[in-house]
């Protein structure tokens, strides 16, 4: 509590119109130092495009196999498409004077023989073309370092230009060739499609012709049938003609004769049967009259039988007479028909003679048809055989077209692309056949974020150094009085430590909010910043309390040593051995290491160990200051009248 009150009284000293701002200004010291530096150097490599660089193209185009090689122009065009630096395309004198006067940080010159060397690169003794890069470290050495970091990219640009020119020298205009190959590829595709169609249609044609051949076979069979049928028809017709012309009229005459005699005979028969009938009927009538006259006879069986016979005879003779009359009528009719037949024979004969002529012509024609169909069949057979050959050929044609298309496509694929961006990519791949792929654990992303831990350390140390220019390290009254040494020590340390912690956190907050420091472990960052501020203040407090002005100088020296020894910029291994040896005994090393873990990630035990070391430093230096208090209760003349005063 005494220490806290002493600290409070120390802060109360800062009153008055201007002095009251002293603590506030002290709080801003870390921000002033750390933020200003980090702000201006947050991402220098991301802003290289603002660095003016002169580009001079002295190249003269060269001829190679009738092609013009203009690699210098190509290179300049490649550069124009990038914004690695702020390119100024100027002539050689402007570039030289600009470099000397600081207008350009370096110059890139394409020499006169750039294209020539490239064009000759296919000859027996090739010379590598070179691009000249001239730096002026009077403009700042780091600009040159930046140029070096960009050299890889620059090399790519040069390679791209060289490759394009080289390819043109070897193959002429690759782009044109490629374009033509593209056309050829399209055409060959069409050819493949066309021959494919041809192959399909000859197949279909062959199938159709086979059908036709089969049909023609059927047709010739039918025609042969027709020919034989018409021959038979002709033959039949001849016998019919003969029959109707000769045998039919004779037969008709005979028929007429026969039917005439039959009619006459039947007339005779009919007269006899009619007399027989009337006789029988009268016999039957006489028998009936006999019974009437002699009723006794009617019971006589003999009589009855005679009567029945007589009656039957009468009936039979009637029937026979009827039949004879029918026969006579039929015979008359037959004779009539035979007469009519004889009359009809002449037209029939005429008709039959008319048929004979066309039938003969039919027979002749069908014979001709048979001959024709046989010829057709032959022709179709030949055609089918030829179509088979055509089908095979069109298949071969299609295969050939397909292979051609494949070849052309393959060539097109193998043909390097010739556009500027493709050339650039191809050249970067050809020029650098392998790449290094880098993966970063706990990446800091930008330069500023990577060096922030060091600048936090420096800012907090500078604060401690500066604070005791304004704060009294030890309260004189407490030193001369009876307050215990630890309270005096803490009372002197506390006001600066509180302001230092606030200042450190202001720096951290400002970095996070304005520049995007974005610590991966914010609580650790806050804690370690506070602890670092407290520890560094304790060290500076001790130096100042124990050694006065000399202590301030020691602090300054320690600061400078720690900047190099804390490993915050270059890897520690690049430092001289004495600096390396100091690394692990200087407190800023631990703050830088711990903040690195807190800001961008890393091993947690590092963080814990750093915190322990810084906490230990804090305690040790407060105890050392207490010892100093104890010792200073006894004055020396040297302290009373310091040899060195500010």
């Amino acid at each position: 509590m005494k220490a806290v009150y002493l600290a409070w009284l120390e802060l109360r000293r800062f009153r008055g119109p201007w002095r009251r701002f002293v603590p506030a200004v002290l709080i801003l010291i870390p921000l002033l130092y750390g933020a200003l530096f980090l702000w201006s150097n947050w991402d220098p490599y991301g802003r290289m495009s603002a660095v003016p660089v002169a580009v001079v193209n002295s190249d003269r185009p060269a001829d190679h196999n009738g092609e013009q090689v203009n690699a210098g122009e190509q290179f300049v065009q490649q550069l124009r498409t990038t914004d690695t630096f702020q390119w100024h395309f100027v002539d050689v004198d402007t570039a030289r004077s600009g470099l000397e006067q600081g207008r350009y940080y370096f110059t890139i010159r394409v020499p006169e023989d750039f294209s020539t060397r490239l064009a000759n690169s296919t000859r027996s003794a090739p010379q590598r073309p070179a691009v000249l890069l001239t730096r002026n470290d009077a403009n700042g050495h780091l600009a040159g370092v930046m140029a070096d970091t960009a050299r890889y990219e620059l090399q790519n640009q040069i390679n791209a230009a060289a490759y394009a020119a080289y390819a043109r020298g070897l193959y002429g205009d690759l782009g044109e060739v490629r374009g033509k190959l593209g056309t050829a590829s399209e055409i060959s595709e069409q050819l493949v499609q066309g021959t494919q169609l041809g192959k399909q249609s000859t197949g279909a044609l062959a199938r159709g012709l086979t059908g036709v051949r089969d049909g023609a076979g059927h047709v010739s069979g039918g025609v042969r049938d027709i020919a034989s049928a018409s021959a038979q028809l002709d033959q039949q017709l001849s016998s019919i003609t003969e029959f109707t012309g000769q045998r039919l009229p004779a037969t008709t005459e005979a028929l007429l004769d026969t039917s005439g005699s039959a009619v006459r005979d039947l007339n005779t028969i009919t007269g006899g049967t009619a007399a027989a009938q009337s006789q029988a009927e009268r016999s039957a009538g006489a028998l009936a009259q006999l019974a009437n006259r002699h009723p006794e006879l009617s019971g006589d069986p003999l009589y009855r039988s005679a009567l029945d016979d007589a009656r039957q005879l009468a009936a039979t003779t009637a029937t026979v007479n009827g039949a004879a009359q029918d026969a006579q009528r039929s015979a008359a009719e037959t004779q009539d028909r035979a007469l009519a037949l004889r009359d009809d024979l002449d037209p029939l004969q005429q008709d039959v003679n008319d048929i004979g002529d066309p039938a003969t012509r039919l027979r002749l024609a069908s014979a001709e048809l048979t001959g024709g169909v046989n010829g057709l069949s032959h022709g179709v057979n030949t055609l089918v055989a030829n179509i088979g050959v055509a089908q095979t050929s069109s298949g071969q044609l299609n295969d050939g077209a397909r292979r051609l298309a494949d070849q052309v496509r393959d060539s097109l694929g193998r043909m390097p692309p010739a556009g500027p961006t493709e050339v650039a990519r191809a050249s970067s791949e050809l020029g650098t056949p392998s790449v290094v792929r880098a993966t970063t654990l706990n990446s800091a992303d930008v330069y500023g974020r990577g060096v922030a831990p060091l600048f936090f350390g420096i800012a907090l140390w500078v604060f401690g150094l500066f604070a005791y220019l304004l704060f009294t390290p030890l309260n004189q009254r407490a030193l001369g009085g009876r307050t215990n040494p630890l309270s005096v020590a803490i009372g002197g340390w506390l006001p600066a430590a509180v302001l230092g912690v606030i200042g450190g956190l202001v720096l951290l907050g400002a970095m996070d909010l304005t520049l995007g420091l974005d610590p991966v472990d914010l609580p650790a960052a806050v804690g370690l910043t506070a602890l670092g501020a407290a520890a560094f203040t304790a060290i500076n407090h001790f130096l100042r309390a124990a050694f006065g002005v000399v202590g301030g100088l020691v602090s300054l020296a320690l600061l400078l040593v720690q900047i190099t020894a804390s490993g915050g910029l270059y890897p520690l291994e690049t430092a001289p051995a004495p600096i390396q040896a100091l690394h692990s005994v200087l407190p800023m090393s631990y703050l830088v290491d711990g903040l690195r873990v807190a800001f961008t990630g890393g091993e947690q035990w590092h963080l814990a160990w750093d915190a322990i070391v810084l906490g230990g430093v804090l305690v040790v230096f407060l105890l050392l200051t207490s010892l100093a208090v104890l010792r200073q209760r006894m004055w020396t003349v040297g302290r009373l009248h310091p040899q060195i005063e500010l």
Binding site: L9, R12, Q476, R477, A478, G480, R482, R633, V637, G638
Partner: protein, 230 residues
């Protein structure tokens, strides 16, 4: 006599600094309740001698006896407390009077009433809200003396008493210191001019010591500048 003062005897003490001898072969005897004044120009080693006599500066030769015997420096420091040493023990000008009082209560372990009493004893009445720098120089020195005597120490140190004071202020301070001594506290003061109130005068750089009535037993020296005050 409120306080038992200390007696201080110095025998041939010498202190050196980076630039050689600061004072050499100084003898002195101060009885309890005496007002001893070291007289000399600035830079003659007055403050160093005050520090040496109060156990705050290492001497390279001679010896100092406090209450008739050599004592541990820390005990001597506790017995003889500074009211003002310049440089080394001065009130902070940017603090208010009440803050200075509070500070002293902490650093010297004295009570508020003791401070009040000490101020009253000196007849000092200042605005406690005033800044120390705003006080008149004599009030400022009187406050320092009051704060030193608040713990009723056996001895006090007051460096460079007359610096920046008008004659009236000087008289007031010397009277106050005389009163403190009369109350029993041994007072060691330094000044550029010898006050009439002093019991003992120690002149620098001439190692001239005046032991007043008691001149026995101690080697004295011998320059014409040797001067009797009482």
């Amino acid at each position: 006599m409120d306080v038992d003062g200390v007696s201080i005897v110095a025998r041939g003490i010498t202190a050196t600094g980076p630039e050689g001898i600061v004072f050499e072969n100084v003898d002195a005897r101060v009885y309890p309740g005496e007002l001893a004044v070291i007289v000399g120009e600035g830079g003659t080693g007055r403050t160093s001698l005050l520090l040496a006599l109060s156990g705050r500066l290492k001497i390279v030769a001679g010896r100092i006896e406090i209450d008739e015997a050599p004592r541990r420096a820390s005990l001597v420091r506790r017995a003889i407390v500074p009211a003002r040493l310049s440089p080394g023990f001065e009130l902070e000008g940017r603090l208010r009077v009440r803050e200075a009082i509070r500070e002293r209560r902490i650093t010297a372990r004295v009570g508020a009433r003791a401070v009040d009493r000490a101020m009253a004893a000196l007849g000092l009445d200042v605005d406690r809200a005033a800044l120390i720098d705003e006080l008149y120089p004599d009030d400022r020195l009187m406050l320092a003396i009051a704060l030193a005597t608040a713990g009723a120490p056996p001895g006090i140190l007051v460096d460079d008493v007359v610096a920046g004071l008008l004659p009236s202020g000087r008289n007031r301070v010397w009277s106050a210191l005389r009163a403190v001594a009369d109350a029993g506290t041994t007072v060691l003061a330094s000044s550029t001019e010898p006050p009439s109130e002093a019991d003992v005068l120690i002149r620098l750089p001439y190692n001239i010591v005046d032991f007043g009535d008691d001149t026995g037993g101690l080697p004295l020296f011998s320059t014409a500048a040797n001067e009797e005050v009482r």
